[in-house]
Symmetry: C2
Subunit: 297 residues, 2 copies
């Protein structure tokens, strides 16, 4: 497992891997690795080839009042967690090399990035799209792996890859959850025990929407009202947004069809948490639901 | 010489060339090829490898009141002009495949794109940067060739390649001129004989600035005033902007040093023409001046 910090070194490494005819894959992360990240690495390993894991807390995707400075960082523990997967390299660039003085060219997503996280966090997806394009250009992977958990992020990146003719395949992997259903997130570390118990309400609200959908309810307003009601019954939680949208452009789905996605964001104690659920046939696996969402444009 | 219209086909071709270990180079054009374009193709051929020439009149870089519809197009003549150079392929994509419905992700340049052409043509460089990134992603060339004539464009693209860690080397080639000094441009076709004779005033104004610089004048205002005076002496010409700037960020150069660039734009009859000159030691070749500008950041 190479530990690489320099942009030139990662370029050399991946160029060499390509020359030797190897498949190269990338798992981009911000570190603070949990089982969700590791599921991406596991999937990349299973797909074959040399896996590069990048760890970079990207300042460009944090707003001025956000948690960039206090975002959890623990490189030693991250490397320990990765070791069993034997990635080809861990790429840990320095912000000063990713954004050198004079840096000013950005990738600007469109409508897909405007609402939901984009409206709560102005500039967030510009930062995400820009750093992901940079990582793809540095690593030139055949495939890159992202979690369904950040569903709007996957939509922004899928649009970017299509619009800019990027030769990397995006692989979206199911959200990994705690035993009670809470979606894993590095930001769960901000929760005290009471907030932690309350936080499961996001998952439960989505399960309620799914239940209604399975019972034949296709009116988006009804599903959204149910999500809101469940979250608002928890006094420690406050809905930031709740919606059911089409999976590509994230446009409103008046009538909910299989492949549509319920998105919810809520403030729980000091943290703003997000979660989502793809609606589809009862009994479909998470993988099948992702394929359904990705194929229903 | 392959004639390729589909995005999938150009991808397959260049992927195959890379697999066979070939160098691939790209000369992006909007067609209406003249000796300036052909000098880029010649240089690419001389550098070795398989040369792809793209011909695409990019709607995204034209403003709503600009000449997209009437921009000169003559594909047969372009192919005839290219044949002697035996490019590997001529890539002529359709606008509907480059910008399919739902397209919304752009590359947004920064300050380098704000003034001069960027201020006269809002959105122009966003369109240029976006289409060039798309072409680079489709062709994945080792090097791409651009003319010095569009100097600000080269600055925007050099910044983009650096900022987004793009693995393609940009090669800037000297401006090709008519015998009287007028820089070749597809838009020269818009000039009637009187305007054509008047248009040489751009070149003459730059020669005057160069002459002053060679004589020891390093005050930018003095050089700019001289450029303006020469252009304004021609009643058919009207200065749009004239400046002397540093070659990377195109920031004002109060004191002019070798590698700085004089930029001029003027309206002549129905056309808006641009030209530029890199200032450097007397007797330096165009190639040497370009290297001087590119290395003086």
């Amino acid at each position: 497992m190479h530990f690489i910090a320099s942009l030139n070194d990662i370029r050399s490494l991946t160029r060499d891997l390509h020359r030797r005819g190897k498949i190269v894959t990338l798992v981009p992360t911000m570190g603070a690795l949990h089982a969700g990240h590791l599921s991406l690495v596991r999937r990349a390993k299973a797909d074959g080839g040399a896996v590069i894991v990048s760890i970079f807390v990207n300042p460009a995707q944090f707003g001025p009042s956000e948690d960039y400075a206090r975002y959890p960082r623990n490189l030693d523990r991250d490397c320990e967690a990765l070791a069993p997967f034997e990635p080809e390299a861990v790429f840990v660039p320095d912000a000063s090399e990713i954004y050198p003085p004079g840096f000013e060219t950005y990738v600007t997503p469109g409508k897909v990035a405007e609402e939901f996280e984009g409206s709560v966090r102005p500039g967030h997806f510009r930062g995400v799209a820009t750093v992901v394009l940079k990582l793809l250009n540095l690593v030139t992977p055949d495939a890159a792996y992202f979690g369904q958990k950040d569903f709007q992020q996957t939509a922004v990146l899928r649009r970017m890859v299509a619009d800019l003719d990027i030769g990397t395949r995006l692989v979206i992997c199911p959200t990994v959850r705690e035993p009670d259903g809470l979606a894993l997130s590095s930001r769960n570390a901000y929760l005290d025990p009471d907030d932690r118990r309350a936080a499961v309400v996001l998952y439960r609200s989505l399960c309620c929407a799914r239940e209604l959908f399975h019972n034949g309810e296709t009116n988006a307003d009804t599903l959204v009202a149910a999500v809101r009601e469940v979250v608002e019954a928890e006094r420690r939680a406050e809905v930031v947004y709740a919606t059911v949208v089409k999976p590509d452009a994230l446009e409103p789905a008046a009538r909910v069809t299989p492949g549509c996605v319920a998105l919810v964001a809520a403030r729980v104690g000091p943290a703003r948490l997000i979660d989502n659920m793809i609606l589809g046939p009862a009994g479909a696996s998470d993988e099948e639901l992702i394929q359904l969402a990705l194929s229903s444009s």
